[in-house]
Structure formats: structure tokens, C-alpha cells
């Protein structure tokens, strides 16, 4: 059971309080009618599915109720950071370099 820091509660909480909601930063087209079927299908279904760092959405559904994002490593489950919904996708490479330094 992962230990996830909720950026709203500002506490680490057990995974079962949360619900995962898939890849983060996939913007819903502003004007869906203007995108073609392929772009729409990409929005609906195509995902990066990376083996490595992954920005993903979570909701603290049995806690504060808020959606937020986490950068988690899909192989070893380390969580680099969590941040509030609406905040930009962090520069993961840079963060990792800074960690190292």
C-alpha cells in the first residue's frame, strides 16, 4: 500500500484513501468539435504508459476529496513529488538532477 502525500492535507496517507485517475496533463480539447477523429481518439485513449517516471492523477477520495497530481516511478513506486491540480507539470529531469546534487 503506497504512502501518498496529499498536497491539500499536507500529510502522508495510505493508498486506500485515494483513487488513481490515470495520466495527468492530458488536456481536454477546448473545442472538441474542431479536432478530428484521430486527435479525439488520442485524447480519449492514447497514453504514454511510461516505464519510469509518470505524472498521474489521484483523488484523495476518502480524505479531502481533492484531485491532485503525483510523479511516481512506475517500476519502483518511488514518489518524487505530489502537487495540486492545475499546477504545471514539473521538470522531472531537472528535479532528479537537483536531487542528485
Amino acid at each position: 500500500m503506497l504512502n501518498i502525500r496529499c498536497p491539500y492535507c499536507e500529510e502522508d496517507r495510505p493508498e486506500i484513501e485515494f483513487r488513481n485517475a490515470g495520466e495527468a496533463h492530458i488536456a481536454r480539447p477546448d473545442e472538441p468539435d474542431r479536432v478530428d477523429d484521430r486527435q479525439w481518439a488520442d485524447f480519449l485513449y492514447t497514453r504514454d504508459n511510461p516505464k519510469g517516471w509518470h505524472a498521474e492523477r489521484w483523488r484523495h477520495v476518502h480524505g479531502c476529496g481533492r484531485f491532485f497530481n503525483a510523479v511516481r516511478h512506475s517500476v519502483d513506486d518511488r514518489i518524487l513529488l505530489t502537487y495540486k491540480a492545475g499546477e504545471p507539470k514539473p521538470d522531472i529531469e531537472r528535479m532528479l538532477r537537483e536531487r542528485e546534487a
Partner: protein
Amino acid sequence: MRYHIGNLLRGSLSGQTGWPAQWRDPAPKPSYEAIVVGAGGHGLATAYYLASRYGVNRVAVLEKGWLGGGNTGRNTTIVRSNYLWQESQGIYEHAMKLWQDLSHELNYNVMYSARGVLTLAHSVHDIQIVKRHVHANRLSGIDNEWLTPAQTKEFCPPLNISPSLRYPVLGASLQRRGGTARHDAVAWGFARAADRLGVDIIQNCEVTAIRRGPDGAVTGVETTRGAIAAPKIGVVAAGHTSHVMAMADVRMPLESYTLQALVSEPVKPVLPCVVMSNGVHAYISQSDKGELVIGSGTDQYLSYAQTGALHISTHTLEAISDLFPAFRRMRMLRNWGGIVDVTVDRSPIVGLTPVPGLFVNCGWGTGGFKATPGSGEVFAATIAKGVPHPIAAPFSMERFRTGRLIDEAAAAGVAH
């Protein structure tokens, strides 16, 4: 040397020293007619049928680890074909027919055991869904029958059909040809048979890049054991498909999750069939060796770790203990995970890709073991001919654009 009781008896006089290696350990050649990426059951079956039925013999199967070590080696081995949609019935029933004689075809006892698969219904809504499957299957000539709770109990004595269960058993469908097969034997049987037809199975050889010509078409792969050329590449990498396809700049409608399974300590025969419940999320059978083989759900998040969370297996064992109150005293012997690649409609993708020469067979998610021979056969045809096999055609990537999904999940909860 053929596998045969006579040879085994003869072998017993000489300490079984006469058996040759089941497959060679060849070094990669510079080029092949076709490369299959991934030596899981599907990849090996693809190679076997390419060589045996479609005349493509200069084939290499590249495997980053040991053959059969992916999901093929870690699944709960349920085999059935009682799917809802005609497209699915087509491909799974194609496989089901091949299972019937697979041991002979491969000269390898894959221990296909038609023990019957029960799918339990726990509510009025479940009954509607299960019966819809039964009717659809009957029309397609796929055996599937409805059992009352009493008949279900008769077929599976340890099952608790008490009406006081939290989710009582209100009946079940039974596919009698459904059952299990020995997962390792399937991989090994296909590997040995393909090897005998000249296919090079190259283990410890991870594909790290896909090479493409100026026209965009594939020309080969780079691997941890050097570059290998081929005009056709079939990617059959299950949970790792997105990762491999990204090497050719193709993004896939897939997400990879860890799916767990576990076995109990072995006991004498107690469970005569396979029991599945989508309602309480439990899948169970007993292996030839005596362990109860139990399937859990996936973790909720994307993962390439082959271990799952404790609360997931906990939930499964709760369900199993409720359905089989005596099994509560059984003990978990080993728990593991596999990485399954899941599409939004829980149906596979088999066919061509936007990259010429690149073919893909993936998205079998939590339920592709049963399809192994059928999937291999139609994928081999697709690679050999360059056009989708009719059975595979509906499973193209195009369906995500047109919306013509084959949504087994919507209709059945989970597809195992």
C-alpha cells in the same frame, strides 16, 4: 526425439540421458525474414505458425529474459471462449478449437484440462448478463449453459450456495470445454516445436531500438546482442508493448498494470472445476499439483513492478473464503504479479500499425492466455500476408478512431 511413453520407458533404463535440448541456444543471425519481439506464449505461437502454416521459416523470436517468463509464466491459466461479442467469440473460439488437439500438434503435453468453467451470478443483474452470454454463445455454437444454484453446487461441491451469503450464488454459466492448461508447457511446447522448424529463439536479448528506412518502413532492430535486420517485425511484448512501440514512435491506447495471482499450499483434489466471479472479484482453480490457483485484481495505478499491493490480495482472499468457507484455513504459499497491458475495451489489438512492416499483437490484458494458439495463428497469417487475418480484422487499432470498440468489459465486468 519424439515425446512418447515408449521413449520415456526406454529412457528410464539409461537415466533419461537421451533427451536432447528442447530448443537450441542460437546466436542471432544478421538478418531474418521476420522478427517476433517477445517469447511469451503468443510470440512463440506466432513463430510456430509462421513456420508451420505460412511458410516463413527464417524467423527469430527475441526475448529480453527467459522464454515464457512474462505473463505466460504467471497467469492463472483459465481457458474459455464464452465471450459476448461475435468478434471476441471468433478469436477465442478459434483458440479453443486449437486447444483441443494442441498436445498432439506440438507433441508436448500442455495438460489442457477441460474441467469446466463456472461463472457465478450473484444478483438479478448478473443473471441477465450471464444469460446474455449463454444465449449469444449458443447461437454461435459455443458451448455454454446456465446452471441453477443447486446444479452449480453439484458441479462444484465445495462452493457455498447458502442464500445467507452476502452475495449469494443465484446460478452460474458453465462452459464445459473451458478449463485450464499448464502455462509453462504451453510456452515450452510452442518453443520446442518452433525450434524444430528452424525458428531461432534468442533469449537474454532485449530489443532496444527499432530501425526504420528512409520510407519509414522497419528494417530491423537493435538489441542487447547487436543489430538484427528484418523487413517484418511483430511486437508481442504484452505489458511492455507501449515501451517497445515507442521505439518506432507509435503511441498506443494501452496502460500497463500489475495483476496479481497466488497459490495455496498443495492439497489433495478438492476443487473439480474453475470458478470465476466477476461480482466479488475472485478466480480459482486447482492445479494438477494440488495448489489452489487464485487470481486477484489489478492494482489501481500504472505499474511495471511485478508485485502487487497487499490490500488487493487481501480482498481476493476474503472473497474466496466467503465462497469456499473451508478454504479459509488454507494458506497462501506464494504471491506474484504480472504486467498486463490493458485497452479501454478490454479487447486485444492484433494487426497492422501505422509503420510499414511493423505489426502488433497486444492488449490481451488480464485474459490472453486462453487465446495463445488462436492469437498466434491469426497473427502469423497477418504478418505473412501483410493483411489482417479475417478473425483479427476487427481488432485493429482503427477501432479506437471509429469508435467500433469490442467492449467485453462493459458487458461482463472484467474479462479473465
